[in-house]
Assembly symmetry: C2
Homo-oligomer: 304 residues x 2
């Protein structure tokens, strides 16, 4: 039997999945991070580990297309080397794209539409009538508006403002400091500069809890996150040249947009106001399914 | 003859200066960076290099007080070790403080007042009636508003907004890209993530030039920098509990506040509006002179 192997190589884990040519999922394997900007050699090792595990699990199959979405790939200086390496090793058709592209194909089942992702970072990617447009994705120093990292930093900046103004610590500040096991805003500074972005983004549940019990500042930050993500999506929509009456599918992905109602409600509210005919897709589908859809578009027809 | 040696250990260079007990400058030496957070061992080596050069240059003198302002010292986990190390090695009285404290003493000649610094980063430090207060200084992820790094990032974010909205590149964007030898805003992203903060701050002269020829966005960013620095200073002023009619000396330091009229004018304009009796000090004095003033306050009397 001929199979397609799809790979979603991200910042924390790599997922490889084998599909038959009709799109049935046959096997899934998970390994370590696959973002080539974190550590290229280890990322490639993790990717091969996951792919090899898929192949070993399936006897009497032939992988006719290895389709991979790899985080950091678009910024890697070794794109051609990496591609050639996988081609030589697996001796099959190999395609590598940025991970947001396979996530898009998965959420939108290979169809046109926009995908907005808000996890630790944020980015928006859309496809319409052959046009492909990305907005955001400029990382924590220049962008990532509305992401988990961004939300946490907004809260920490609000805490600094209290400290600098010499006013009493608010409930949000006291809660965050307690979470960090610290007593002053000055101590919090060391935490931020010593921690990876994902650890900083882990403050988000505390901020959400604070909003749930009526914390105004926390609520404001989460709503602003929704606004920022709507803006990112709106910019992508405009660049994709949708006609006013045309139907637009907007998929969301990532813990911030999917799991935090304060963010999601603001996001959908703004976009509903601006786009006449919009449909939101919130279903959580493995990005590896996007590899299957994209491989099929590239000619892997069923019924072999 | 008895001397005091003052040290200003910063992120790019270390300056050591020997003063006699009347405050006359006898000798100055320069060495490499002295910020202990960049690389502690190398920073300490640079500091000793500069101090030793001062001592070697002056025969028949005895250093009675080594007073040092060291960048990053307040965040170092080895404060006591570093202090003891210098005491043992130089066998004299040693004091180490954060570098902004000696800069303050230098600019204000050891008197009460506020010092606002805007170079690559930004921070404000004030002394009044025994109170010492700092505002800002939270670094590039959480603060540094109005600094050179902040100004450059604001310009880069404005460029990203143009890119994300799909509008034609403005004059500012074209000028910055030309400076970076790049053609697209996407390429600029790699520059930011691959460069130290000081290199990013080096875009400021391009932004100033753009404002000088009437670039609205550039002008707006520089004025906002002035506003942010005024806010930092205003917060320090309030925390220092000045009385409304009391005279306040505000000194400025760093290339952004000292050399860019667009920033400085906005800064002084806002503070003049808010503080009745304010005097601005713009004279550029070596921070090592602050070490002399602070050592004197600690008991090194003249006429020995």
């Amino acid at each position: 039997m001929k199979i397609i192997i799809g790979v979603d190589a991200g910042g924390t884990k790599t997922e490889a999945a084998a599909y038959d040519l009709d799109g049935n999922l046959l096997h899934t394997s998970i390994s370590g991070f696959g973002n080539v900007l974190i550590h290229e050699e280890r990322a490639l090792h993790h990717i091969m580990e996951a792919v090899d595990a898929c192949q070993s699990a399936l006897s009497k199959t032939e992988c006719v297309h290895l389709y991979m979405g790899i985080a950091g790939y678009e910024s890697s200086l070794n794109q051609q080397l990496i591609l050639q390496y996988f081609k030589n090793y697996y001796k099959t058709k190999v395609d590598i794209v940025q991970d947001s592209i396979i996530a898009h194909a998965a959420s939108l089942k290979g169809q046109d539409g926009i995908l907005t992702i808000a996890g630790t970072g944020s980015v928006c990617f859309g496809v319409h009538d052959g046009l492909q447009k990305m907005t955001g994705g400029f990382g924590h120093l220049l962008g990532d508006e509305g992401s988990g990292y961004w939300i946490a930093i907004q809260a920490l900046k609000a805490m600094i403002k209290e400290e600098d103004r010499g006013v009493a610590y608010s409930s949000l500040t006291r809660t965050v400091l307690k979470e960090l096991g610290q007593t002053s805003v000055q101590d919090m500074k060391d935490f931020v500069y010593a921690s990876p972005k994902a650890d900083i983004a882990r403050l988000v549940p505390v901020i959400v809890k604070e909003a749930e019990i009526g914390g105004e500042k926390a609520l404001q930050i989460l709503r602003e996150a929704g606004e920022e993500l709507a803006e990112l999506t709106w910019n992508a929509y405009k660049k994709l040249q949708y006609k006013e009456e045309e139907k637009v599918a907007i998929a969301i992905k990532g813990s911030i947009l999917v799991n935090i109602p304060f963010v999601q409600e603001k996001f959908t509210e703004i976009l509903r106001q601006r786009i006449q005919n919009v449909q939101f897709i919130t279903e959580d589908i493995s990005s590896t399914a996007g590899c299957y859809y994209l491989a099929k578009l590239k000619g892997e027809t069923p019924s072999n």
